[in-house]
C-alpha cells in the first residue's frame, strides 16, 4: 500500500485537517507521502515533513498552484497519483473541490467523507444527512477518498522526519484564474477544530444578539457556530454554518441556543460528545439529541450562563 495525502495548507503553514487525514492513512496502513501544492509553500512543506508517520513530502511550488485551483492541482494529483494505491484529501472545501476532479482523471469512483477505515478497500461513510451509515467496498485500483476530519484523531504535528522532494514541472490548464477572496476574520478557535462550540439559530432574532454567544464563547475558549436559519437571515456569515451543507463538527461540548434541531443541522453536530440545548420550545427536536436540555428563554438564560462560568 502506498498512500498520497493532499495537504490542506495556506502556503505558510499546514492546516490541522491534514493531521486527521494522515491518521486515516495510518489506519489503512502503508507508506505515506504528503503532496504540498502551492506557491512559496516552503513553510507548509517543512511543517508537513515533521508530521508523525510521514515518509516523504512532495512539493510542487509554482504560481499555478498558488490558490489551489482545481483545474491545475487535479492534473498534478492525477499525474503523481498513478504511482499510489490510495489518494486521500480532507473533506474541506479544497479537498472536495479537487479530489473528485482528480479521481475522474484517473477513472476512479471517489468515496466521499469516510468516517472509518474497515480495511484497505472498505470504508464507512454517512449518507442521507448522517441518518444512515453505509459500509462500502471499492473495486478501483486507485482509491480516491476524502476524509471526515472529526472522525479521526489527529496525528502528532511533530516527531516525523520525512524527506522533502521538489517537483520540477507545473501544469496550468489555463481555463481559470483566481480573482480575489474575502475571508472572515475571527480570533476565536476554528469551528471544526474547537473543543467547545456555541451555536445560535433563528431564536437569536438578530445579529447583535449573537454578542451574547460571543461572550459565553470567550469565557469557554469556544468557537461560535450557527444554524442555516441564522445564516440565511443574515445574522452571521455563512462560513459559521454547522450542518449537512455547512461544517461538520464533533467537539467535546456543543451548546445549541435557539436552534430547533432540523435533520440538516443535526447532520453537522450530532457526533459531539456532550450536547446542550437551550430552547423555549420543549417540543423542539434538538432535545431528542441533547444530553442536557434547558427549557428557557435564551435572552435570560444565556446572560445568566455567562455570569456563572
Amino acid at each position: 500500500m502506498s498512500i498520497l495525502v493532499i495537504a490542506e495548507h495556506d502556503n505558510a503553514s499546514l492546516k490541522g485537517a491534514t493531521l486527521n487525514v494522515v491518521a486515516a492513512a495510518k489506519a489503512i496502513g502503508g507508506d505515506i507521502t504528503i503532496l504540498v501544492a502551492g506557491a512559496d509553500c516552503g513553510g507548509a512543506a517543512e511543517a508537513a515533513a515533521k508530521v508523525d508517520g510521514v515518509s516523504k513530502v512532495l512539493v510542487a511550488d509554482n504560481a499555478a498552484y498558488g490558490h489551489q485551483l482545481a483545474e491545475n492541482v487535479a492534473l498534478l494529483v492525477a499525474e503523481i497519483g498513478k504511482n499510489y494505491t490510495h489518494i486521500l484529501a480532507p473533506s474541506t472545501s479544497n479537498g472536495k473541490n479537487i479530489a473528485p476532479r482528480a479521481a475522474a482523471l484517473l477513472d476512479s469512483q471517489a468515496i466521499s467523507d469516510i468516517s472509518s477505515v474497515e480495511s484497505a478497500d472498505t470504508f464507512k461513510r454517512p449518507v442521507y444527512a448522517g441518518n444512515v451509515i453505509a459500509t462500502v467496498q471499492s473495486s478501483d485500483a486507485i482509491k480516491v477518498l476524502t476524509v471526515r476530519g472529526t472522525a479521526f484523531d489527529a496525528v502528532a504535528a511533530e516527531g516525523g522526519s520525512a524527506t522533502i522532494e521538489p517537483l520540477g514541472t507545473a501544469t496550468d490548464a489555463g481555463v481559470s484564474t483566481f480573482v480575489g477572496e474575502e475571508l472572515a476574520k475571527s480570533d476565536r478557535p476554528e469551528l471544526t477544530a474547537a473543543k467547545i462550540v456555541v451555536s445560535g439559530g433563528r431564536g437569536m432574532q438578530n445579529g447583535e444578539n449573537f454578542e451574547m454567544l460571543y461572550k459565553v464563547a470567550d469565557k469557554l475558549g469556544a468557537a461560535v457556530g450557527a444554524s442555516r436559519a441564522a445564516v440565511d437571515a443574515g445574522f452571521v456569515p455563512n462560513d459559521m454554518q454547522v450542518g449537512q451543507t455547512g461544517k461538520i463538527v464533533a467537539p467535546d461540548l456543543y451548546i445549541a441556543v435557539g436552534i430547533s434541531g432540523a435533520i440538516q443541522h443535526l447532520a453537522g453536530m450530532k457526533d459531539s460528545k456532550v450536547i446542550v440545548a437551550i430552547n423555549k420550545d420543549e417540543e423542539a427536536p434538538i432535545f431528542q439529541v441533547a444530553d442536557y436540555g434547558l427549557v428557557a428563554d435564551l435572552f435570560s438564560a444565556v446572560p445568566e450562563l455567562e455570569s456563572k462560568l
Binding site: 482528480a102 482523471l105 484564474t177
Partner: protein
Amino acid sequence: MKILVAVKRVVDYNVKVRPKSDGTDVDIANAKMSINPFCEIAVEEAVRLKEKGVATEIVAVSMGPKQCQEQIRTAMALGADRGILVETDTALEPLAVAKCLKAIVDKEAPDLIILGKQSIDGDNNQTGQMLAALAGLPQGTFASEVVVADGKAKVTREVDGGLQTVDLTLPAIVTTDLRLNEPRYASLPNIMKAKKKPLDITNPADLGVDAAPRVKTLKVEPPAERKAGIKVADIDALVDKLKNEAKVI
C-alpha cells in the same frame, strides 16, 4: 447561449430515512420524492440567466428510472425549454453520471452547465467536478454568485474561511450552493405548459457509457444512538452538570 442543467430525483429533504432491518438498503419504497434542493437552485439560476437575456435555451437532464420524468417536468414548469432522460434501473454512481453528462455535453455543446453541489441522498459532492474533469472544462464549485459576461463566468465560491472569486473561460461548469438564489414555485399554468415541452429519452449504453458500479455497498445501518438526555431545571443545575458530571468545562 445554451445552458444544460442536471437534476436528480431524491427522497424529499423532510423525510427521515431509515435503513431496512436486514441492512441491505435504505427503506424508501413509499417515501415522497422530489427534485434535490441544490438542483432546484441550479434550475432557478439558469432561468434567471434566461430572463436576463444571457441564455437562450435551457435543457434539463436527469438520469435514473422512468419516474425521473416527473423531476424533468418540474424543471420545465420552472422554465427549462426541453428535457433529456437517461433511463436506467441501475443506481448510477457519480462517475457514471458524469460520463453520461459528458456524452450529452459533447452532443449539445452548452456554454454553461449548472449542477447542484451535492445530492442529499448520497451526499457525495462529486458529479460536477468529475464532469468538469472528463470534459476538460473549468469548474466553479459551491457557487453563491454567478456573473456571465465576455465569454467568461465570474463565480463567487463559498469556501471554508469565507468567499473566493474565480474567472472561468466558457464553456464552464458551475455547482450551486444554497446561497445562490431562492428558487421559485411552479405555477399551475406553467405545470400544464410543461407537459407539452419535448422530452427525449436515451440510456447509458446508447451514450456509450459503462454504468457498472465500482463501489459496492456491503451494509447500511443506523448511526450509533445517543443515550437519552435529561432536562435540567435552571442554569445553576446546567453548569453543575457540565462541571461535575460531564466534566467538559
